[in-house]
Symmetry: C2
Subunit: 208 residues, 2 copies
Amino acid sequence: MKRIADSTVRRLSVYLRFLEGSSQRGLPTISSEELAAHGGTTSAQVRKDLSFFGSFGKRGLGYSVPELTSSLRDILGLGRAWKVAIVGAGKIGIALAQYDGFRSRGFHVVAVYDSDERKVGTRWDGMTVRHLSSMAADMAEYEPEIAVLAVPAEAAQEVAMGVVDAGFKAILNFAPTQLHVPPEVSVRSVNLALELEGLSYELSNRSR
Amino acid sequence: MKRIADSTVRRLSVYLRFLEGSSQRGLPTISSEELAAHGGTTSAQVRKDLSFFGSFGKRGLGYSVPELTSSLRDILGLGRAWKVAIVGAGKIGIALAQYDGFRSRGFHVVAVYDSDERKVGTRWDGMTVRHLSSMAADMAEYEPEIAVLAVPAEAAQEVAMGVVDAGFKAILNFAPTQLHVPPEVSVRSVNLALELEGLSYELSNRSR
DNA sequence: CCTAGCTTGTGAATCAATTCACAAAGTCCT
DNA sequence: AGGACTTTGTGAATTGATTCACAAGCTAGG
C-alpha cells in the first residue's frame, strides 16, 4: 500500500469526529460536499482522501453515515482500546491523566510516571504515580502501547530513549523539543510554544 | 511579500529554540548542516527557509549564533510580549494558565474566563477567574491579543464567535473541533484526540 | 422502463514544497 | 598572496498534495 500522507490521516479524524457528533443524528447519508463544509476542505479532497482506502459511497446518494463511521474507525485503528502511560506528573501531565477526552475515545491511561521521589506515591483519580525506573518492569503487567511525554524540555530526549528501550512504539510528545528516536517508533508532537509563535508571526505580518 | 508556508514558520521556531538552548553556549557560529541535524531536516531546507527573509549567513563560515537568534526572534514577532487570555477554567485551562513555558517565552496570561458561576471568583496563581460575559468590557483594561480556548467541543464554536466579537485577532484552540472564524482571525488548533488517532493509525498500519 | 438529476471515483492538470547541485564568496593555513 | 577548503544562496528539477473536470453509476419520479 502506498504511503498515506499525514495530512490525509488528520482529515480522516476530522471527518470521523463530525460523523460521530450530534449534529449528524438522524440523517442516513451524507455527501462529500457536506463533509467538506464542516471539515474546512473541499469535496474533491474528501473523495480523494477516502479513495486511498476504498470506495465507500453510492453515486447519486452519498455516504451511509453508519457505514462510513465504522469504516473510518477501522482505518484509524479505533476498533480497539489503546493503553496509554503518562510520563511526567507535573501540571500538564496530571491534567492529561485526568482528561476525559482520552478515555472517551478509547485511549485508557493505565499508569503515570515521574522521576521525582516527592511525586511518586501520590494519587490522582485513583492512579498512583510510579517511579520512572519501574517502567520497564511494569510493561508486562500493564502492556501500555502509547507513551505521553509531559516532561521538561531538558529531560525529554533522555526520557524518550528510556521509553523506547522499555518497548513503546508510539510517543505523544508535549515537551518543546525535537525528539530523535528510531524509525520504528512513531512520534507526534504538540508544541505549545511553537503554536503561539506561529500566531505571533501571523499577528506581526498581518499586513503582508 | 510572498506568502510564507506554515511549515516554514514552524521550522523557524524550531531553529530558534535550538539556538537559544544551552547546547549552543559558546560557539560563535553554526552551519545550516548543524541546524538541520537538530531540527530534523536538511541543510538545503534550512537555507531555503532563511532565504525567504533575507541573507543571514557568511559563506565558508555559517551563521552567527547571536545574530541569527535575534533575526529569528524578529521575524517571528517575539521582540515584544504578547498578552494571552485563557478561556475555559477546566483542568486543561487551569494547567495552561499555570504553565511556565508560556510566560518564559513572552506570552503573558492576563486573564482567565469561564461561564460556570461556580468557577468564577476562584483564584489560581494570583489570578481570579472572571465570567465570560465580562470579557468584552475587560478588553480595554487588559488589552489581550491571543485567546486560548480550553472549552468543551460543544461550546467551542459559540465561544470562538464571542472571542472574535470581543476583538481578538488570534486564537489557540484546544477544543477538538474545527473552528469557523472570519479570515482576519488567525487560528491554530491543538487537537489531542487527533494526534492520538494519528498514532493509532500508524500503530495499526505498521506493516504497511 | 426511461429520463432527469445527483454524486461518486479518479485520471490529468495545477499548485506547492522539498531537494539537488553548483557558482559565488568567504575562511584558513602555509 | 595563493590555493585548498568550506558553506551559503538560489535557480532548476523533482517530488508531493490539491484541485479540476468528467465519465460512470445510482436514485427517484412518472
